[in-house]
């Protein structure tokens, strides 16, 4: 046998993982659209936008060990960028003729703002908006990350400060009603470049676009995970000093992971705005941010696919329970937080790996490469 080249030694995806990806694609693109009506499908689409955040957290928290409690900030920034474009398009001069200042969003008019603020002007153009959707949150993450990681702030301190940033941004958005729409957020969005996003066919199409983007993000995350970069992230999580002493700039890698998670979250936020038709500060603050962490935790913080299934499962449970037993839901969610920490820290992916995957491999007779063999052992959150 020839010695294995690095490429085959460390393939992009193992056959098992390709199978998982195929299952995920089948679920998102075939099974769910066939099984659900338009309303439910739109709901699933909304859940899947959260999965972008969970995916980012799997990289940032699971692989790199940085727990961010402010992912809602990036989700919200992405969503707001998109919402600002849609709102400007919805408030054309002829649509807003009855206002005292036509051509500006209605909430500005209600709050005695008479001219479009400067930071709204770039959002008149679709290309600029699409760039801003990713760039603004990523840049913000870069600034925060650079300020913190260069000074070796990490772990619990980082978590608390990101949480404070989420709180600040929420208060700011709610307080500056004339510029941001306040507590109601930016509502009454109608068209994307002339295309009505409120129709059923548009919602279905957006669902598929969303699914496609999610799979693209999974592949990007997989690429990071499998590359040498991913190895360094894991090494840093487990023994930061050693990586530093080996000559790596630890801070830069951390900033990268944090920015990547922010970019994913931003794409999710923009898709959320498009599918749900509004954006409000209730998706930015502390509570949604920490709920997004539980999606990744339930899925198994080290599993990219788990993050998606975890998001779907928790949101499905949330909708079901809060529809029928609103009182029980918070008890259930609280218990979920405690259970995932105490009883099964590897989440769904851990259960799958331990109980289901061995059965499947035994049935298939031919020993498939074990996922567990290539994954680092589930380490505690730090």
């Amino acid at each position: 046998m020839t010695s294995p080249s690095p490429r085959t030694d460390n393939p992009f995806m193992t056959p098992t993982e390709w199978a998982y990806l195929a299952v995920l694609c089948a679920l998102i693109f075939v099974l769910l659209p066939l099984a659900l009506d338009g309303f439910r499908l739109n709901l699933v689409g909304k859940y899947l936008t959260y999965a972008f955040v969970a995916l980012g957290l799997a990289i940032c928290w699971g692989y790199c060990g940085i727990l961010s409690l402010g992912q809602g900030v990036f989700f919200g920034l992405g969503g707001y960028c998109m919402a600002m474009y849609l709102k400007l398009e919805a408030s054309s001069v002829e649509n807003t003729r009855i206002q005292s200042t036509p051509g500006i969003p209605d909430f500005m008019d209600w709050n005695q703002v008479t001219a479009l603020p400067w930071f709204w002007t770039p959002f008149k153009s679709l290309p600029l908006t699409l760039i801003a959707v990713v760039l603004v949150p990523t840049l913000f993450a870069f600034v925060v990350g650079a300020a913190m990681f260069k000074r070796r702030v990490g772990g619990t301190y980082f978590a608390i400060i990101t949480q404070a940033i989420a709180a600040i941004l929420t208060i700011l958005i709610v307080g500056q009603q004339g510029y941001t729409g306040g507590i109601n957020g930016i509502t009454d969005l109608r068209t994307l470049h002339g295309w009505d996003i409120r129709t059923d066919s548009a919602k279905t199409l957006l669902y598929f676009v969303n699914g496609g983007l999610l799979v693209a993000c999974v592949l990007a995350a997989q690429f990071v995970k499998r590359s040498k970069l991913g190895r360094i992230l894991v090494a840093m999580r487990d023994k930061e000093d050693r990586v530093r002493f080996s000559g790596y700039g630890v801070a830069s890698f951390k900033i990268f992971a944090f920015c990547l998670a922010a970019a994913f979250a931003a794409v999710g936020g923009a898709m959320f705005t498009l599918q749900v038709g509004f954006m409000s500060p209730s998706f930015v603050g502390i509570v949604p941010s920490i709920e997004m962490v539980i999606y990744a935790a339930i899925g198994g913080r080290l599993s990219l696919f788990g993050a998606i299934y975890g998001t779907l499962l928790v949101n499905w449970a949330k909708t079901t329970f809060s529809e029928s037993f609103p009182e029980l839901w918070l008890f259930g969610l609280g218990a979920l937080f405690i259970a995932v920490v105490l009883a099964f820290p590897d989440g769904l992916a851990g259960l799958w790996r331990r109980h289901v995957a061995p059965l499947l491999t035994r049935r298939a007779k031919a020993p498939m490469p074990q996922r567990a063999a290539t994954l680092p052992k589930g380490a505690p959150a730090e």
Partner: protein, 308 residues
């Protein structure tokens, strides 16, 4: 924004708002003191701290109702009973939580964060089921109402002075307990080196449980003080948790003196700014300043020199 006030007016405003901020300061100090003990000494992130505080507030509410209905003659003194009860209730719950949950997680600080967040959701829903979703207020005895006229322009609210005095007493008691008693010596030993402390015969489990209970109990007293500045609802505690964590981190996690200094500066900044700006802008500016300072000086204001 300062233009229309003379210098003397400004001084009076700052002084008045400063005294008005006293209760906020006391709530912050008591909350942060409990958190600093739990986070700084034990390394546990207790996201349910706000809910322990609210338990104290509900205890005060129950007490005020009970005394009004059954013992109106001693109503003026009920606040003392309420504070003691708040301490006991929150402390007991804290000990229970430590035993059931926290002790399994000492090596995983970020996991304590998630687990205690879950706990806080459960407690919130429990409060909502027991006390209702409506916010409740507490009737203060008459001797706590009103204010002292210090100068022509400066008034000091009496309840502020009272809470302030209680805060000082509790702070001194905690400092005494931690730095001048055998128990405090054990706490500090466990905090510095858990394994070694266990090896020399300290029951680390018991010390942890008592320390956690103490921190939660102080949060309960903070809840009693809180009833004077706001009405109590199931989610009122959540509003304070981020501020409190920032105070603890800003002060330097392991330093009690730093905690007090940072609670003072944050509450006074916020209270003074609130006079000139809207409440939300004041809060944003205060929090932004704290985060900015923390980015420049991540170790906080006061730090112990430790090698990590």
């Amino acid at each position: 924004m300062f233009g229309e006030y003379s210098l003397g007016d400004l001084g009076a405003i700052v002084a008045m708002q400063g005294f008005a901020g006293l209760i906020l300061f006391s709530v912050y100090v008591l909350m942060a003191l409990g958190l600093a003990i739990i986070f700084g000494q034990m390394g546990v992130i207790n996201m349910a701290h706000g809910e322990f505080m609210i338990l104290g507030a509900y205890m005060t509410y129950l007490c005020s109702g009970f005394f009004q209905a059954h013992l109106p003659s001693v109503f003026p003194a009920y606040f003392f009973v309420a504070m003691a009860l708040a301490f006991v209730a929150s402390g007991a719950l804290g000990i229970l939580v430590e035993w059931a949950l926290i002790r399994h997680l000492y090596r995983r600080p970020l996991d304590t964060l998630l687990a205690t967040w879950g706990l806080s959701l459960i407690l919130q829903q429990a409060y909502r089921s027991i006390f209702g979703a409506r916010e409740v207020g507490v009737e203060l005895p008459s001797w706590m109402m009103g204010s002292v006229q210090a100068t022509d322009t400066i008034e000091i609210p009496i309840n502020g002075l009272f809470v302030m005095a209680v805060t000082v007493l509790i702070t001194l008691a905690v400092a005494g307990l931690l730095f001048a008693s055998a128990y405090g010596k054990q706490v500090r030993a466990v905090m510095q080196n858990r394994v070694m402390a266990g090896a020399v015969g300290i029951d680390t489990g018991r010390v942890d449980r008592l320390t956690f209970g103490l921190g939660c109990g102080i949060a309960g007293v903070a809840g009693s003080a809180f009833t004077m500045i706001g009405s109590t609802g199931p989610t009122s505690g959540q509003l304070y948790i981020v501020d409190t964590f920032l105070i603890v981190v800003f002060g330097g996690a392991a330093s009690l003196l730093g905690t007090i200094a940072s609670a003072f500066s944050i509450s006074q900044t916020q209270s003074t700014l609130e006079f000139f700006l809207s409440g939300s802008t004041a809060k944003v500016i205060t929090l932004l300043a704290v985060v900015a300072i923390l980015m420049l000086r991540p170790q906080g204001l006061f730090t112990l020199k430790v090698r990590r």
